[in-house]
Symmetry: C3
Subunit: 162 residues, 3 copies
Amino acid sequence: MRERTPDDRAALVVFSGDLDRVMAAFVIATGAAAAGLETSMFFTFWGLSVLKKRGARAAGKGFKQRMFALMTPGSSTSLGTSKLNFFGMGAVMLRSMMKEQGISSLEELMAMARDLGVKTTACTMSMDAMGIGKEELFDGLDLGGVAAFMADASRARVSLFI
Amino acid sequence: MRERTPDDRAALVVFSGDLDRVMAAFVIATGAAAAGLETSMFFTFWGLSVLKKRGARAAGKGFKQRMFALMTPGSSTSLGTSKLNFFGMGAVMLRSMMKEQGISSLEELMAMARDLGVKTTACTMSMDAMGIGKEELFDGLDLGGVAAFMADASRARVSLFI
Amino acid sequence: MRERTPDDRAALVVFSGDLDRVMAAFVIATGAAAAGLETSMFFTFWGLSVLKKRGARAAGKGFKQRMFALMTPGSSTSLGTSKLNFFGMGAVMLRSMMKEQGISSLEELMAMARDLGVKTTACTMSMDAMGIGKEELFDGLDLGGVAAFMADASRARVSLFI
């Protein structure tokens, strides 16, 4: 933290696991990367659901961790909306409305972020708390704690908590 | 993005359409503008409800868009609270508590923001997704996408996602 | 706001009173302070619950303010989670899962923030609106409005709304 002016960087915390907020996070991240900012996303808490591989399951979870896993989305495709979710209907409707308008799906935005070189970090403290193993998450992610986020954010032009 | 130091700017994303969060957004925006920062607010997703003219209705919406319009607030005056809403009672109570204390209402804060020259942008991608036409929104708004937000945010001292 | 480059500062708005979000706020704040940033937290709206002394009660509240106090957490120990709360079970489960993993509790993080010199400000406008007196809040807090937050945030490397 010796440099005095920010780098061309953007740093996002994705705390939420709601489809609408996660979509916003990826729209902003890909927008930032497209504008030439070195962009990093730090997924913590409910946001970790986004990084889960479909159908993956960690061995040796405790009871509470298994309960938690049952009650949280198993991958990006099963995220609900923050409002008007109605047991998943909101997400189905939102995805369908976006598709009709030719707007990229969450999964397309995620692929775009990867292609644009957006750095993706999973929060190790949240993984520990929820008993999520790295074998449950996509390959090629960084793992890190709050220090990793602060290192990026303190040099960034834009930092957002989503 | 050639300049290395931030301008005297603040850039806010208003994603939420909850009365309490939207109030916070306008208190911060007017505070930033009063402190001499060139301030812009980018309204996206649920936040678009804030910009709707009372009683306006877009012609030619699809079925899902009409359903969505029915289930989301028609203007700033019908926003609910993020907690303790109880079908609108929370918002009535909050507004009444604030009024008793001589705190500006949301609508007064919005007028103040306008007077202080706060730039207001409606997110075109959200408008498309929800089938909201610009004739439904206040006059004099800017329309733009994530690139418009990033252009402001990447030069700002303060950027917040609300 | 004459200086052109940001100071080594971080400024957080804690708007939420949800256990999970407040935990994230304190993890980030202590992380920022540990990384050498002068860190300030501005507690507003639901976030004020975090600063309440257990069992304190303000005299002379109006009816609505008393109702509001009854329906919001009385201190950090009674915060609920933003999702899966189930009348407090979510918070009990989350706290227990974190404890098993040796993760600091919210109260430990709060003490750590104090020890690291994190500046804590209670939003006076929210206190007025909700009828919360300063005798209900921890001692040694700063009291201030949005101008106090903007003064810190406009000089900060990182500013987040949580």
